[in-house]
């Protein structure tokens, strides 16, 4: 079992989520990074190869964070996306591999000819 969160801060100006766990680890992750890596089936699809690349989320905001049982939290984004359940385990993973995962995402965007900028 991964650590349990002890503190969650939403930095609304810099759009950063700060989360501290009881195992002493603390991560700061941009809202956009969390949004494009949402574990929801709307993003991941229902299997390998069915992932849907998320684009234009540079300015996405977080409206609310809700606990799900004892193991996860639901992030409600201001673009209406609210179906991702971020387990403590997944948040650890996102925090730990932030640099690589973000780089991978940028490469996928470039390859698809898409952008982080909102389309309108």
């Amino acid at each position: 079992m991964s650590g349990y969160p002890t503190e969650i801060k939403l930095h609304q100006q810099s759009r950063l989520l700060e989360i501290a766990f009881d195992d002493g680890i603390c991560y700061k992750m941009p809202y956009e990074y969390l949004r494009v890596h949402s574990p929801s089936a709307e993003v991941r699809g229902h299997g390998t190869g069915q992932e849907k690349l998320q684009t234009g989320k540079k300015n996405v905001g977080i409206v609310e964070i809700l606990p799900v049982g004892n193991y996860a939290m639901k992030i409600v984004f201001d673009d209406g996306h609210d179906s991702g359940l971020y387990t403590w385990e997944y948040l650890h993973e996102l925090g730990e591999h932030q640099a690589e995962l973000w780089q991978d995402y940028l490469e996928l965007l470039t390859a698809a000819g898409q952008s982080r900028e909102p389309s309108h």
Partner: protein, 364 residues
């Protein structure tokens, strides 16, 4: 005055509660110490229901104090139990009238989960707790028959139902709401989870110390929505010693771990078969499987029960063993398991480490 309150506390610090393994002072059980000359009186408030052992504990404490405080005159110890409510998640709605929710689950069907659940519930009630039974098996509700309850719940004001009662338990089951015993619930997942939520929240539970939830087997919709939406204190896993049952029990346990529901412990059912003719006891499903699983997953072994025809007959007839034969060995076994569960739950209730933190919103 030849001794002080601190002397009394000091003496009780050296006495271990055999049920919790902790001394009475650090267990915060000692209240209301009164010293009058050489006479002493105090209250012991246990965090778990234990009516059947109150006298034993009182005698033990009185003897201990007499020995530790040789100058004392009369010693009066009053033992009671008070069950503490469990700390729950922010966001997860509390269930009105319920202090603790204990789920009884198994990976596999047919291991005696419902029988174990009902007997544990009755054993907790026999120890003086207020107990409810929620039958979460929507497709195959068995609690109405096991509790010997027929009839429909009375509708109260608003959308609430009164639980049905028998043997001192408050009970709710989908079985009370359907027309007849052979009416199948032909429902898809979302209907089932909604039904569970209604049975839980639209029943007017009356001041329960424990609500026992008898879950269907498996790791699907019902179990997941229970973990996500219901403030469960912990889960009890029932298994038989058979390898094939243990395999599924492990999956059940891992599922609860994954979704952050604490495991209270494991009950091994049908550990041995006792021949009703000759009384010979035999490990027909293999020996020691439950204990091995506990060691593997660092879970507590809560106890084991024999495969005894009386358990089946009594429970099937609507009068489970704990009420049918309260002085028998099997009932004693169930009571011991129930006490272990209650002690563990009391420890969990005091642990607030898994309460969801407040989300701080900053303009930074």
């Amino acid at each position: 005055m030849s001794f002080s309150e601190a002397d009394v506390q000091g003496a009780l610090k050296n006495l271990t509660d055999p049920n919790t393994g902790k001394d009475f002072v650090s267990g915060k059980s000692v209240k209301n110490i009164k010293i009058n000359g050489n006479d002493l009186s105090l209250d012991i408030m246990l965090g778990y229901p234990a009516r059947s052992v109150w006298d034993e504990i009182r005698a033990m404490i009185e003897a201990h104090l007499k020995a530790a405080l040789p100058d004392s005159g009369s010693i009066g110890v009053n033992v009671t139990s008070k069950v503490v409510p469990h700390a729950v998640q922010r966001g997860v709605k509390l269930v009105d009238g319920v202090k603790n929710i204990i789920a009884v689950a198994s990976g596999k069907g047919g291991v005696g989960k419902s029988t174990t659940a009902v007997n544990i519930a009755l054993a907790l009630a026999a120890e003086g707790a207020r107990v409810g039974m929620l039958d979460a098996d929507i497709y195959g509700p068995s609690q109405p028959a096991m509790l010997g309850i027929t009839g429909q719940p009375e509708m109260l004001d608003g959308n609430f139902m009164a639980p049905l009662t028998n043997h001192g338990l408050q009970a709710m089951s989908i079985g009370f709401l359907i027309a007849s015993d052979d009416t199948p619930m032909i429902w898809r997942g979302p209907m089932v989870t909604q039904a569970l939520d209604q049975l839980l929240r639209q029943t007017r539970w009356d001041n329960l110390d424990y609500l026992i939830v008898d879950l269907p087997p498996g790791t699907g919709d019902i179990q997941l929505s229970l973990a996500q939406q219901v403030p469960v204190t912990g889960a009890v896993i029932v298994t038989t010693p058979q390898d094939i049952a243990l395999m599924d029990a492990r999956k059940g346990l891992k599922m609860f771990e994954k979704v952050g529901v604490k495991i209270v412990g494991i009950v091994e059912n049908m550990s041995t078969h006792i021949c009703s003719k000759c009384g010979h006891e035999e490990h027909i499903f293999g020996a020691g499987g439950g204990e091995k699983m506990c060691a593997e997953y660092h879970a507590e072994f809560l106890g084991s029960l024999p495969l005894d025809i009386r358990i089946r007959e009594q429970t099937d007839s609507g009068k489970p063993t704990v009420v049918a034969d309260p002085d028998g060995n099997i009932a004693k076994n169930y009571r011991q398991i129930a006490r272990r569960i209650a002690v563990k739950v009391a420890e969990m209730a005091q642990n607030h480490s898994t309460v969801f933190p407040k989300v701080v919103v900053q303009n930074t």
